[in-house]
Subunit: 341 residues, 2 copies
Amino acid sequence: MNYDLYGKITHKWRVIMKFVIDMMGGDNGLKATIPSMQEFIKKYSDVEYFLVGDINKLSEFNNLKNVHLVASETVLPMDADPLTALKETTSSLMISIKTFLENKCDALISAGSTGALLSASIFKIKRLPNITRPCLITSFPTVKSNKKFVVCDLGANAANTKEELNQFAIMGSLYYSIIYDEKNPRVYLLNNGTEEEKGNDLTKEAHALLSSNNSINFKGNIEAREPLFGDVDVLVTDGFTGNVFLKSVEGTAKAMSSMIKEAFKKNIFTMIGYLFSKSGINGIKNKMDYKNVGGALLLGVNGVVIKAHGSSDARSFSSALLNAYKLTKVDIVNKIKKELE
Amino acid sequence: MNYDLYGKITHKWRVIMKFVIDMMGGDNGLKATIPSMQEFIKKYSDVEYFLVGDINKLSEFNNLKNVHLVASETVLPMDADPLTALKETTSSLMISIKTFLENKCDALISAGSTGALLSASIFKIKRLPNITRPCLITSFPTVKSNKKFVVCDLGANAANTKEELNQFAIMGSLYYSIIYDEKNPRVYLLNNGTEEEKGNDLTKEAHALLSSNNSINFKGNIEAREPLFGDVDVLVTDGFTGNVFLKSVEGTAKAMSSMIKEAFKKNIFTMIGYLFSKSGINGIKNKMDYKNVGGALLLGVNGVVIKAHGSSDARSFSSALLNAYKLTKVDIVNKIKKELE
């Protein structure tokens, strides 16, 4: 007989996690989420799934033992403002949140509006102790083969205070140490120069505050050019700047990948060159492709809430699901909560 | 007999431009500027050069007819604050500014401290009419073969007001139309989303102001992922965010180039692949290498003041010189000044 995390006798297979999936969110909605979920459910039978959306369009999931279909009526637009979002209680997002709470779920995944997901999570799922604003966090690749760094905030907030940056630094540091098993991660503040006195009012004040925080290994300011070279563990920034950093890196990587593709198409010699070198080149493209990044965790709320890319296709939504799976497995939220208390 | 731009009879060769070069600025100082100037002077004899620095170390330029050596005593540190910079009148930067004014020069090139260059230029060379803050502007490559876009401000300022962003939009638009012969350049505001109501306080207010400005072709907000794909002409942003954008693009391009290099080294097959495809691949690396970018123009002051990369080597300093040459040739400052009046 098997027991799940909550100690109850469950199905024949061992259910250890409960996921809620907002099937309707994102620019591509069901077109992305259905194929992604079909594949994921086959692979991961140790999860109980709650799929929220227009159940008439989810018939392929009807008779699966570890899947529950939950009906929602509307879909929030991608630019939904937080207040409207909270009021629209029949939307796929708000029904997802309700389902998450009622079933004591572990993770919630949505490609819908960031602002709506943030405010609904804060008001319903609630924040972790001593955290005023959650942040979005995810891992970035570097030139060093297995080395990654994390950035927080990637855009949960449009503006932040120095105290919030300090909270991001603490949570980001805990996150990194759990995920990458690194005791004393190096924390840097994203700035327009490395010197202590550089920056705008926010980064100058944040630098002073982070320097006096003994619970983190703060190494000072860093410019946006450096983190991809592998000597940063946690990059702290306000949500607006972090969003520009994320999208600049994504855009440049995508632009270069597309140039490489064109370069190989040029003539018969370059095409032959491609045949010889494609494994390595495609490896780089994959490494730098944000579709494989797996969405970002909304760090600072009481559950694994994953924001998948708004423009998610099936592949990137699958990465977000996998990210949720891994983060739930390591019990990230409870571990961080314990440290914050 | 030949006349220079100021109507005076000059040397046997036709001198049509006057450049001042701060030989001491930047992380590499003379190591970068000497080889770069040696080559440039050979190529461009239609320029009268004023080289400012430690003249004992500039003996290779002693007997060149179109070169003047001007002695300076000190070098400002890269993190010099604006007030100290202005007071240190014997520094290579302040002597360069003085030389620029006394000889009615066209262009000044320095790889020294941005803050010092900005404040010295504002106080001594003076601003263009109706401009409160100058901005740094330069061109970025895109995936479309000859298409570029410009970004302003790249970091002359650590913070800006909406009125300053509006000035950047006007000047950036004029700059683009002169350089790329494009009548109605498309101006976008860098933001964390495309919708009108997105952003922090500054971008929200700037969006409203830019929308009501009939002298520019304002197309709205854009995310940092998009400009490299070729549908933007002028990207407007505050100096802090622009600096993060610039360095994120640079860093990602450099990281990917280094990954590509590694990928081709993997085994004998990938090395053969490289032989067949190297022209195209190296073309991309060059296109995306900031060392070829040519520094940034300090747009909004009364002269072609070029900020070369602080970490300039000889190659990138040469690009900055070439940029100064081209911008002076098209008489960029006087043309923009006329429009602003």
